[in-house]
Symmetry: C2
Subunit: 309 residues, 2 copies
């Protein structure tokens, strides 16, 4: 069976191979995605982001259970900042797969950083399309909301959930601020801890400073206890409500496509430079000259642009 056919049939092994392909063989990704694209656009894509230690994974697992109870099929992409060097993400996959093993309606996958510029973001976009084409009703993308790259990935979702906890340390608070802007729904997890009400209040206070268009969705702040499942059903309801009520979804989709196209154009441009001997030599010479201090990087880049376009 062709790989694309397997994905379209919802075969979990085909899905796994397809995601590995977009992760590791970017040159083969386009033809696969071309075969799948007509069948995409059905899944709701939900981003879940937050600092380390806020309980994102547990919350995602609870959301999966909640979705399954409602008869929905779910794909989970855990964007993992650990590297292939230690195999951390593979271990994580195994542990997380177990709790849903035997359930054909759930697919869980970690996406690891491979150190390529924009590689993770490209691969994650394609993995979302693969899960979408395979028939998932929901695709959950879990990211550690710290780095710019991770924020960019979260931005590709239809709806973004930002997860925090009561009384997070200073540095966690600072990080939280960076992802404040991208949240459509906010969650204070571990809400049994003292300070949960104050955390809700603080986030609401920060949101009050945000400028919203009139009639725009006003992000709610919910409380959950992922370990017991409390509040998770409400969270899913709220996410659904966002998808139905928000007028931003069309605009959001356009932004996401624009972001994706920009990434692809950048990537393709650099690939072309590397492919042609003429431009490859130009770049190599420019690197030498900049490294020797003979020319600044801006002038060198402008020179190359002159000669290749």
């Amino acid at each position: 069976m062709e790989l694309a056919d397997g994905v379209l049939a919802g075969d979990q092994r085909a899905i796994a191979r397809a995601i590995s392909l977009v992760e590791n063989e970017p040159t083969r990704a386009p033809s696969l995605i071309r075969q799948l694209f007509a069948r995409t656009g059905q899944a709701s894509v939900i981003g879940i982001t937050g600092a380390p230690g806020v309980g994102k994974s547990t919350l995602v697992d609870r959301l999966v259970v909640e979705c399954r109870d409602r008869g929905k099929t779910v794909g989970v992409l855990a964007v993992d900042p650990s590297s292939p060097f230690t195999g951390g993400s593979i271990l994580g996959d195994r542990i997380r797969m177990q709790s849903h093993s035997g359930d054909e309606g759930v697919y869980v996958r970690s996406m690891a950083t491979h150190g390529h510029l924009g590689g993770l973001s490209n691969a994650t976009s394609d993995a979302v399309l693969i899960l979408d084409a395979s028939g998932c009703d929901l695709v959950l993308i879990e990211t550690v909301g710290v780095g710019q790259g991770e924020v960019d990935i979260a931005r590709t979702a239809d709806v973004s959930i930002v997860v925090t906890i009561p009384d997070a340390g200073d540095e966690v608070q600072a990080m939280k601020a960076g992802i404040m802007e991208i949240g459509d729904v906010f969650v204070v997890n571990k809400a049994d801890r003292s300070g949960a009400e104050r955390a809700v209040f603080e986030i609401e206070g920060m949101l009050a400073l945000r400028e919203f268009k009139e009639d725009a969705w006003s992000p709610p702040v919910l409380k959950t206890q992922a370990t017991t499942g409390e509040g998770v059903s409400d969270l899913l309801e709220t996410v659904n409500r966002f998808s139905e009520e928000s007028s931003e979804s069309q605009e959001r989709r356009r932004e996401r496509v624009h972001f994706r196209l920009t990434e692809l154009l950048q990537y393709t441009f650099i690939q072309r430079l590397e492919k042609q001997e003429h431009s490859r030599i130009l770049v190599r010479d420019a690197v030498e000259r900049v490294a020797k201090g003979e020319v600044d990087p801006y002038t060198a880049a402008a020179d190359i642009m002159e000669r290749v376009t």
Copy 2:
């Protein structure tokens, strides 16, 4: 006085204005950098990265003190994942500046994420050149080593210090793994805590799995207590030793320039597409068609590339 002249004279206000310019006005950055570039290449650039809570800021402050004791001038760039939305980084600047206020030999600056693709990395590269041109002997770049973008920034340094602590939580451990590959020197901070020896042992174990070229620098694992300053002098000696002994510095410099040129070429290419009406319309139409599901992103990107190059 011209801005560039002010920077070259080491004037702190000029430096501050110059860094704000490369952060906020990317179109004005090239002409500034062109004026400064001939005077760059003197500073040692040291990257310090680690998960939240390992004590990076305190360690950096101690390194600054140590450098000042040796008569060296220092610039610090704290790459801050918080956003302008909350002003977190500005506050951080103020607090951190105070401890060195009145010392003309120290310049501390936070670089905040502005949500632009590659914006932070571009701006940080330029800020390093500005500090270098202003006469800093050392430039310390402090990043939270979690996201790909932050790792990329750390990679631009002449030498990378990776900071950890004993008995970090699981998620912190996982993050640590992602930055393991980029470390030239490893530090177990808060070494008075129990488990410090074990942490050193673990890192050495992970390093043993790394493949090094023969005669290559073998990354040492040091212990520090940033709060008391213990071990910080040793750390600085080790960093200096790396700069002197390692044969990788030329190659490292070339890699860094190559990375920077690639970024600039990507950025310039997208800017050109946006500037010309012809290509701007092509991109806008492509976004519409992909958003409607009429064409997949790869085909759309390839079409645009066909027509503009």
